[in-house]
């Protein structure tokens, strides 16, 4: 018993020793700066004097913050389910195509390989007031619109996100599908199960661990869509696609470090809670 404890402590010590370099990096570049952000959220922008919870009150009553939160939540609520369902459908389809499907899956990764600057150029070419899309609509005698300056801008953003991330999620799903033994399906088929039942009763339950990972990654990737949105529409896009990142970006330009810090802390709390909820909801199934 004593020998066991000694070995366990030794192993723990060795483990700590190995994670130390990355722990130092994470601490220096993430944890310590984040603690400074928390401190700043209770202080003035430049003077750094203690202001209590005033920054939080300012942020929570700020109409731009509320709009950005609403849009960010709306964006995530629309995009993530859509992306997960679409990518799953394509992954299942591709897996059933055998070797052909394996080759085809690489094609879905192409959008990820295209640099943001090129994507932005395509966006501008297609969705500009004088762009390709309006040119086609005009040719078909359909009313054109200024895509980036109307509510349509939100759906352009959704389209861009799905287009860019679909391939990545498909690959993740295919990896998950690959872990399900073919024997289970064969056994079920022998018992008379149909394709729909196979999917619902075997595929879905076995994909739950993947679903958690894919959901979290898709959620985090949704923040990256800001890059394209900013490059196309600038600091102040149509208010349907005004995201939290736009707001932080503009606050930084105006040196509103107080509001930015409070907003960042609030956002961390919400994202962490969401991830914990997901883990709790699917955690048992994962184990």
């Amino acid at each position: 018993m004593c020998v066991y404890n000694s070995n366990k402590r030794k192993n723990t010590f060795h483990g700590l020793f190995f994670i130390l370099p990355s722990m130092v990096g994470v601490s220096v570049f993430i944890l310590i700066p984040y603690l400074d952000v928390v401190r700043r959220s209770f202080a003035g922008a430049v003077s750094q004097t203690f202001t209590g919870v005033q920054n939080y009150i300012t942020v929570l009553t700020n109409p731009a913050f509320r709009l950005a939160c609403k849009n960010t939540v709306r964006f995530a609520a629309v995009c993530i389910p859509l992306l997960i369902v679409l990518s799953l459908a394509i992954a299942v389809f591709l897996q059933r195509q055998g070797p052909w499907g394996q080759r085809l899956k690489s094609v879905y990764l192409i959008p990820m390989a295209i640099p943001a600057a090129s994507v932005v150029l395509i966006w501008k070419l297609v969705f500009d007031r004088h762009g390709l899309l309006n040119g086609i609509l005009s040719g078909l005698h359909v009313n054109t619109m200024d895509w980036m300056n109307t509510g349509a801008a939100f759906w352009v953003l959704v389209f861009s996100y799905i287009w860019k991330n679909l391939g990545y999620d498909v690959i993740l799903w295919i990896a998950g599908l690959g872990t399900i033994s073919e024997n289970i399906y064969e056994a079920a088929r022998v018992d008379g199960a149909g394709e729909w039942n196979l999917f619902l009763r075997i595929t879905m339950p076995n994909l739950l661990p993947s679903l958690y990972t894919i959901s979290v990654l898709s959620f985090l990737n949704s923040f990256k869509v800001f890059r394209e949105a900013y490059l196309v529409a600038g600091d102040y896009p149509n208010d349907s696609m005004y995201l939290l990142q736009h707001l932080y970006n503009n606050w930084f330009r105006d040196l509103s470090m107080d509001k930015m810090a409070a907003g960042a802390v609030l956002m961390t709390v919400v994202v962490s809670l969401l991830v914990l909820l997901l883990e709790k909801a699917w955690g048992k199934d994962i184990e």
Binding site: L20, P21, Y242, R253, L255
Partner: protein
């Protein structure tokens, strides 16, 4: 044992990684700093009495200096000679050059002397109607013999090409340059071209004769020729690269002088001087060494141009040049081994864009504070794709890291946000001090007054102006609706005649925005949607009168940029259109008293039109466009020095430089009013021939405004009461969406909705 070795190795590697990671955060070892010593110090040499325009500066073969100058009052030429420029003694020309014998045709006279005393006189006559120049040449030998020369440069008859410069080599060979900067070697006896030095098909930007070399600088190379044999000297890549870098995009400096000036070294090397300073390059050497840093001298001033540079026997330099394009200056640069190479103190100044007014202030400050180096950082240079927003974010990062600039020029920056965050120091006392000594236009200095304190003060400004018939200016320039009514009525009277001059939708929006936007701001700081709608409606009415029967105008584009403050001084170009009859009303921004002269000269040119000028008001407020908005970073550790620099920026001396920009300093305005403007002491600034739409040339003489006009300008400036909206987050959507509306791409309501949505987002943040 094997396992232990592996563990140790893994441990060592992990440790090494930790050390490497942390080493990136460590400070570099600071050794004992040794201050580099030795710098060329600038000193202005008092010119001899009566010396005005410096026509030439030479070092004779015996080492003495010779200065040829023209008295600007009596228009007579004089030569002075001295050992080292301290004591000037008058010498005689070989003949009386002021007798009129060299101006038989009554033209303007330009003299150049060879090192051995020969004189080339160039008499330039201008055609009254076309302003085309015709030259006559007279050559005076060492014995005073006068010979008339006829020099024909290619293109003289076909395109009016003429000689615009005369040069002598060290041994007295005569060279001339033409309008294309092509260099010709001339036979002094016959006037025939003995040799042509061209740029090999490329445009020549600078041509010079230095010692026994002819030097031509084109866009991509520095060509050198032996002045006697005419043979090309092997290209020198080091010299070429440095010269082209020093020249940048410029073809000439202020006053029309070449961007750079060459002189020879006794060992065969070359010196050249430019706004960057003075450089030395040994023939075939591997470096081009900067021996004088222009930033620490008057050379960097945007209003100073070098006309001649020579090196004295003791190694010091004499540089002759023109300040403001008209005042001659002679500067000596003497090496002082006891002065630190770089000044001990450094003051960081940050501006989003480069501005000549700021450069002038820096040059003045540097001159009065030789122990201080002004480190000017420009955020948006246009060379690296950095946008205004990128630059602001970088600036903010520096400020938060405690590495921010000492002084901020806040054009295009979120000024109110900076004030609210206590990021700026109160400079009320600095302004008070200048108010006491010089007087300041309070409406301008108080543009950003907050709680009775001044944190950001504009040093100069622009005013929206209108010039047209008296009725329009007096009765209809008070608001945009009245102006639109009037312009439509005038257009209806004569549909074929343009009323407003041709301008793009963005240009019109911009000119009217500056006049009207001050009225949009409501008491709570929000922007009135109704005012924006009205602005767009009236602007659209005005724009329709421009494009009504001008199909080409829809294709009209210009290089105008709303971001660049240097392009805001627009009134003069519209006044030119009035003079040529292309329109009846000119609107634009006035940024300098020099351009005000254009406004008043147009009245004098066209008495029959009954032209009047006045402020263009969009509504109740008389607005202006603040510029060079200066403030001090509250994080500075050099508060006194920064305040001293702010004092220079807002001071009277800066305001009297260049084109006499509209300065908030009253003394500067008064000085400009009183001083003679013309190079020869007269009030005539210059003339120009403008091509009208039907191809005829219209001569336009620009004169200094009369005392009455100056008085009227002062009253107008003193009546200003509100800064226009100058925040890019509001200006940009108005320009972008407004242009689409004026071009008929979207409805008024969509345009207003889009603009207000973006503005409200910004204000809500």
């Amino acid at each position: 044992m094997k396992i232990n070795a592996k563990k140790w190795m893994a441990g060592v590697m992990a440790g090494a990684m930790v050390v490497m990671t942390l080493s990136g955060c460590s400070k570099t070892a600071e050794g004992k700093k040794e201050t580099a010593m030795g710098r060329y110090m600038e000193e202005e040499i008092n010119l001899p009495d009566g010396a005005g325009y410096l026509a030439d500066l030479q070092k004779k073969s015996d080492g003495t200096l010779r200065l040829t100058s023209m008295d600007t009052n009596s228009m007579t030429y004089t030569i002075y000679s001295s050992d080292d420029g301290k004591d000037w003694k008058q010498e005689e020309f070989p003949m009386d050059v002021n007798s009129g014998a060299l101006q038989p045709n009554g033209g303007d006279l330009y003299l150049n002397m060879s090192p051995n005393g020969e004189i080339m006189a160039r008499e330039v006559c201008y055609d009254d109607s076309t302003m085309a120049a015709s030259n006559f040449y007279h050559f005076i030998g060492m014995d005073g013999t006068l010979t008339d020369l006829t020099i024909h440069v290619p293109g003289k008859e076909t395109e009016g090409n003429e000689i615009n410069g005369v040069l002598f080599s060290k041994n007295g060979t005569l060279y001339v340059t033409d309008y294309h900067n092509i260099l010709y070697k001339i036979d002094k006896a016959t006037g025939e071209i003995a040799e042509t030095f061209d740029g090999g098909g490329e445009e020549i930007r600078v041509s010079a004769v230095v010692g026994n070399q002819c030097i031509l600088v084109t866009d991509s190379q520095v060509l050198r020729y032996d002045s006697e044999s005419g043979e090309q000297i092997k290209s020198d890549k080091v010299l070429t690269d440095q010269v082209l870098q020093s020249m940048g995009e410029r073809s000439d400096s202020y006053g029309g002088l070449p961007v750079i000036s060459f002189t020879e070294d006794k060992d065969g090397g070359l010196f050249y001087g430019c706004s960057d300073g003075v450089y030395y390059h040994a023939d075939g050497g591997s470096v081009c060494e900067q021996i004088i840093d222009g930033e620490l001298t008057s050379l960097a001033s945007p209003t100073f141009g070098i006309s001649k540079m020579i090196q004295l026997d003791d190694g010091s330099f004499l540089i002759a040049g023109l300040e403001n394009g008209e005042t001659s200056k002679l500067l000596r640069y003497t090496y002082d081994a006891k002065t630190p190479t770089v000044p001990d103190q450094e003051l960081k100044v940050y501006s989003l864009e480069d501005q000549s007014f700021l450069r002038q202030a820096i040059s003045l400050f540097q001159k009065n504070h030789p122990d201080t180096y002004i480190n000017l950082e420009i955020g948006v240079t246009g060379e690296d794709g950095v946008t205004r927003e990128d630059a602001l974010r970088t600036l903010n990062t520096d400020i938060l890291a405690g590495k921010g600039p000492d002084v901020l020029i806040m054009d295009g920056m979120p000024i109110n946000s900076y004030i609210q965050k206590n990021m700026l120091l109160d400079i009320t006392n600095v302004v008070k001090k200048i108010k006491k000594s010089d007087g300041m236009l309070e409406s301008v200095t108080d543009a950003y007054k907050t709680d009775g304190k001044l944190y950001a003060v504009p040093a100069k400004f622009y005013v929206p102006m209108i010039e047209g018939d008296g009725d329009t200016v007096t009765n209809f320039a008070g608001n945009l609706k009245n102006l639109a009514d009037r312009v439509e009525a005038l257009k209806a009277e004569n549909p074929q005649q343009s009323v407003l001059l041709r301008m793009s939708a963005e240009e019109l929006l911009c000119e009217l925005f500056y006049a009207d936007s001050a009225n949009w701001v409501q008491k709570d700081g929000s922007i009135s949607e109704d005012k924006v709608r009205d602005f767009l409606t009236q602007t659209d009415r005005l724009y329709k009168t421009i494009v009504q029967n001008d199909a080409e105008n829809s294709e009209y584009t210009s290089n105008y940029s709303t971001e660049m403050s240097n392009t805001r001084d627009t009134i003069a170009r519209y006044i030119m259109g009035l003079v040529t009859g292309e329109g009846k009303i000119g609107i634009g921004n006035l940024g300098s008293i020099m351009n005000f002269a254009t406004v008043t000269s147009a009245q004098e040119k066209m008495p029959e039109a009954g032209l009047q000028y006045g402020l263009l008001d969009g509504g109740e407020k008389k607005s202006f466009v603040p510029s060079v908005i200066v403030g001090i970073n509250s994080g500075t550790k050099q508060e006194k020095l920064a305040a001293s620099f702010v004092e220079t920026v807002l001071g009277g001396e800066t305001g009297t430089q260049g084109d006499y920009l509209l300065s908030a300093n009253k003394k500067a305005l008064d000085t400009v009013k009183e001083m003679p403007w013309g190079a020869n002491g007269t009030d005539e600034i210059g003339g120009m021939a403008i091509s009208s739409e039907d191809g005829t040339m219209v001569e336009f003489l620009i004169k200094k405004p009369s005392k009455e006009d100056m008085g009227s300008l002062t009253s107008m400036l003193e009546s200003l009461d509100s800064p226009c909206i100058n925040d890019a987050a509001i200006v940009d959507p108005v320009m972008e969406q407004g242009t689409a509306y004026l071009d008929g791409e979207q409805s008024l309501e969509d345009t207003v909705t889009n603009i207000m949505q973006k503005i409200n987002l910004y204000l809500n943040e």
